[in-house]
């Protein structure tokens, strides 16, 4: 079983506060336990299959200025800069 510490560590990496959410840990553990079923699928040798496209279908390199004032949609800025909390 995945330990509470491991889950708490991951939560921190994902910027999730677990203090008020300790009940989540049990649920997450149960879900992960269920995922163990994947061990029986016997798929180690499978090649992955993905969607593909051709180079010519991609966007042409053209500068098209965005025609709206996006800053208007952003909630927290100072002058022309977006405000973020300090680092470290």
């Amino acid at each position: 079983m995945v330990s509470e510490e491991e889950i708490a560590h991951v939560a921190k990496l994902m910027k999730i506060e677990l203090e008020d959410h300790s009940s989540h840990i049990k649920r997450v553990q149960k879900m992960l336990e269920y995922f163990d079923i994947l061990d029986n699928a016997n798929v180690e040798s499978e090649e992955i299959i993905v969607q593909e496209t051709d180079l010519d279908k991609l966007r042409d390199d053209k500068y098209v200025p965005y025609d709206k004032d996006l800053l208007k949609f952003l909630n927290s800025y100072q002058g022309k800069y977006v405000k973020a909390p300090k680092l470290n």
């Binding site: 889950i7 999730i16 506060e17 997450v28 699928a41 798929v43 090649e47 969607q51 927290s76």
Partner: protein
């Protein structure tokens, strides 16, 4: 006025001057006002709906070109953006988010003169199957208000079933259109991955999700699919469907078609007796329609729910990382905060299910665990694609019950995460493989609906709709009492 008419009948009604757009819209708004306090299908109603209706009426009167929808009221799941209006994904994190862009599907509906009547309720960020995870409270099943309407596009399902609008657009990541369609007794179609543009859809698990119609009839789904499908320069994953007309020959029938009954889905542990009975009954119906039904096994199916949750959690962990409240979100002064603690603080507004998925999404693809979970999930997905490809060499369609159970009561499943996940058992295969699938209302047992799922090969929506139409024509279900 009968608000319960189909989209095609609505168009005829307008064309035959039986009612005006404004009359229909205003009556719909009245009806919403009456029933939605109880049902809570909508998160927001379009304040300009009457104004839009008048404009379209004016166009009709002056014989201008009018789009195919003739002002038909359509509701939109609240994870699909419309410029200048709120798109919350039923989350507190996006409570104040006003989209700067309009999704391709809504643009196409607008250009066909439909009226977006409102934005519908859903599980937060589409994670859930009952709307119980909406940050704004659940929607109620119109067939019995004590029961969930399914989800995550539960609000869309309810809005169509309760005649609050003609049709709706939902999104389907693991059954989020088909599950509420089945629970509310409406038609719900999950298109082939890439058939419908995701531009403007707020991503949850972008490798497998699609926008699709939820309608009163199979024909209406074909009608809407005609409008919303096809290649879009704003979405690199869209496919060219050569402007196929999904309505043409929809009544062609399925005589001589080969139908595979997916053994794992038609006999799963979690299958309820009522649903099993309905499924067996539908098999007889298909045979009466001239199809050959035969059981077929898909060996990967038992692993699909685990694979589905692994992949969706991983992608959700990444797609929802942007909700750090730095660029947009809700008011929270960042000064004084350190970056990490600010983000954690901001993200504590995420609801419980989203929080769990974030943790799972941090865990299953991480360096130490990817081999056990994420890589295996991707390989299950790939092997399933190969299996499905082989199966469609022999069969035209695959069928199963859409959901192994009937609608359940609020709170009934929420505390058991595994049995909750298993509700998706029959629907995730279409998402993992990219194939189209449709849920057709089939039966009402003990006052609650049961839907049958038809799956077809990639881009075979046209024939899939023919099969769905044939099945639909054999059933005569009671009207929902609201």
């Amino acid at each position: 006025m009968n608000l319960g008419i189909s989209a095609l009948n609505y168009v005829n009604g307008i064309k035959n001057n039986e009612f005006t757009v404004e009359e229909f819209i205003s009556e719909s708004l009245d009806h919403i006002k009456q029933v939605d306090e109880k049902l809570h299908a909508f998160l927001r109603i379009n304040d300009f709906a009457i104004k839009n209706a008048k404009e379209i009426d004016a166009k009709i009167k002056s014989n201008q070109n009018v789009g195919k929808c003739y002002g038909m009221p359509i509701s939109i799941k609240d994870n699909i953006c419309i410029e200048g209006s709120k798109t919350t994904c039923a989350s507190k994190v996006l409570e104040n988010f006003i989209a700067p862009h309009t999704s391709t599907v809504v643009s196409r509906l607008h250009s066909e003169d439909s009226i977006i009547i409102g934005k519908t309720n859903m599980d937060e960020f589409a994670m859930g199957l009952s709307t119980e995870f909406s940050a704004y409270g659940p929607s109620k099943n119109p067939w019995n208000n004590d029961f969930v309407p399914g989800g995550s596009s539960g609000g869309s399902g309810v809005s169509v079933a309760a005649n609050e609008c003609i049709a709706s657009l939902g999104s389907d990541t693991g059954g989020s259109i088909r599950n509420p369609a089945s629970f509310c007794s409406v038609v719900g179609l999950k298109p082939t991955y890439g058939l419908v543009s995701r531009y403007g859809l707020v991503s949850y698990s972008n490798s497998i999700e699609q926008i699709g119609p939820m309608t009163k009839t199979v024909e209406d789904s074909a009608f809407l699919l005609n409008i919303i499908s096809g290649i879009d320069p704003n979405d690199n994953t869209t496919l060219d469907n050569k402007n196929q007309d999904y309505l043409s020959d929809i009544d062609a029938g399925i005589d001589g078609k080969k139908i595979g009954i997916v053994t794992e889905m038609a006999n799963s542990d979690g299958l309820s007796t009522n649903v099993l009975d309905a499924t067996n009954d539908s098999i007889k119906t298909f045979e009466k329609l001239g199809a050959n039904c035969e059981h077929v096994s898909l060996q990967m199916v038992p692993y699909t729910v685990a694979a589905y949750y692994t992949i969706t959690s991983t992608e959700a962990g990444s797609n929802l990382a942007r909700y750090d409240n730095v660029r947009y979100g809700y008011e929270l002064d960042s000064s004084g905060f350190e970056f990490n603690s600010y983000i954690s603080q901001a993200r504590s507004k995420l609801g419980p299910e989203v929080i769990r998925r974030m943790i799972l999404g941090g865990f299953v693809p991480s360096a130490g665990h990817a081999g056990k979970y994420f890589s295996k999930a991707l390989k299950v997905k790939s092997k399933l694609i190969t299996e499905i490809k082989h199966v469609f060499e022999k069969f035209d369609f695959l069928i199963s019950p859409t959901v192994p159970i009937q609608p359940f009561k609020f709170g009934e499943k929420i505390n058991d995460p595994v049995s909750f996940m298993m509700v998706d058992f029959n629907t995730v295969t279409a998402n993992l493989t990219g194939i189209p699938a449709i849920s057709v209302p089939y039966k009402i047992t003990n006052g609650l609906p049961i839907g049958i799922q038809i799956m077809a090969n990639n881009l075979e929506e046209h024939s899939m709709l023919q099969a769905a139409y044939a099945l639909e024509k054999t059933v005569d279900l009671p009207e929902v009492q609201i």
